[in-house]
Symmetry: C2
Subunit: 184 residues, 2 copies
């Protein structure tokens, strides 16, 4: 059970933003612009960074839901998602994405862990400033979302089928849920 009196049966962040929609709105706006808005990184790549950081933060809800969204978006290449979550360096993801995921991994620990050498490696791999910016902000923002969801012990479903459905909905975008009894 969650640490605060949220509606039962509503999983993860949705229960928290229904408890406090005033703060929920900028949180969903951020997810929408960062993961679905214009970016040189594909939506699949951005969801993969989100899932990877959530995995490293041991946040089951965010990892499972964003990995599901990434699998939908990668389509026939969906195995890449599980390869990265298992061992990023050994995965078949591009060298550019390996360099960006390495930056995300550093940000997940702490901002100051990112070194000039990490940035140079990403640029050699072909990443531009905007891609580096978006990678850092996605990694930073999931360092927030993960802590919000787990710090209040929000409901984390365990059935993979629930996340598969969630991932399909997330692909369509992030909009603040309305007060309802529907589990989603």
């Amino acid at each position: 059970m969650a640490y605060i009196n949220v509606e039962e049966g509503i999983p993860g962040i949705r229960s928290l933003v229904l408890f406090r929609p005033e703060t929920g709105k900028p949180l969903y706006d951020l997810a929408q612009v960062l993961l679905r808005g214009s970016s040189p990184l594909s939506e699949a790549e951005r969801e993969l960074i989100a899932a990877y950081v959530s995995h490293r933060n041991d946040c089951m809800f965010c990892m499972s839901s964003h990995a599901a969204a990434a699998r939908c978006l990668y389509g026939e290449e969906k195995n890449l998602v599980d390869e990265v979550l298992q061992d990023m360096q050994l995965s078949n993801i591009s060298d550019k994405m390996k360099a960006l995921l390495n930056i995300a991994r550093k940000v997940q620990v702490l901002g100051k862990e990112v070194t000039p050498e990490d940035i140079v490696a990403a640029k050699i791999g072909g990443a531009d400033d905007r891609e580096i910016h978006d990678t850092v902000l996605i990694a930073a923002s999931f360092s927030m979302f993960n802590r919000y969801v787990d710090g209040l012990a929000s409901f984390t479903p365990t059935d993979p089928a629930v996340y598969e459905e969630m991932g399909k909905r997330m692909v369509k975008g992030y909009t603040l849920p309305q007060q309802t009894n529907t589990v989603s």
Copy 2:
């Protein structure tokens, strides 16, 4: 120098949101509603939580600026800010705030560090669900802001007078900066 091509001389997060205003807007909206919007926690208490988490994340820019804002808001009790940053448990802050700052300290490490006992202690201290929620979200969001600011190595002024002025402006609220050459 920052890792990406932001305007020189603009400190911290301001340089980053000018680089990417689309993501800057929800970030500033979040800071405004969370730190200046309606809450059972005072603005001073909320800025103190932000400064405390930033201190523990070793983010000099966020710690210095939010500590300055907290000092302005605490007024004659401004010494509390420095006492908490030096040693929270030994400070003269209220028992309720000690219990909430303890939760913030756990969230700064990772969401799952928060235990049911931490929540009970806050409730015994007089905190309600909304105060616990806001504490967790402030701690989580500064785990993001700190990583964003330091992960891109944004400009961090070292002159305390700069932060004192910044704190006074922050007390008035958080609005997305407009493209300008003014250092602020």
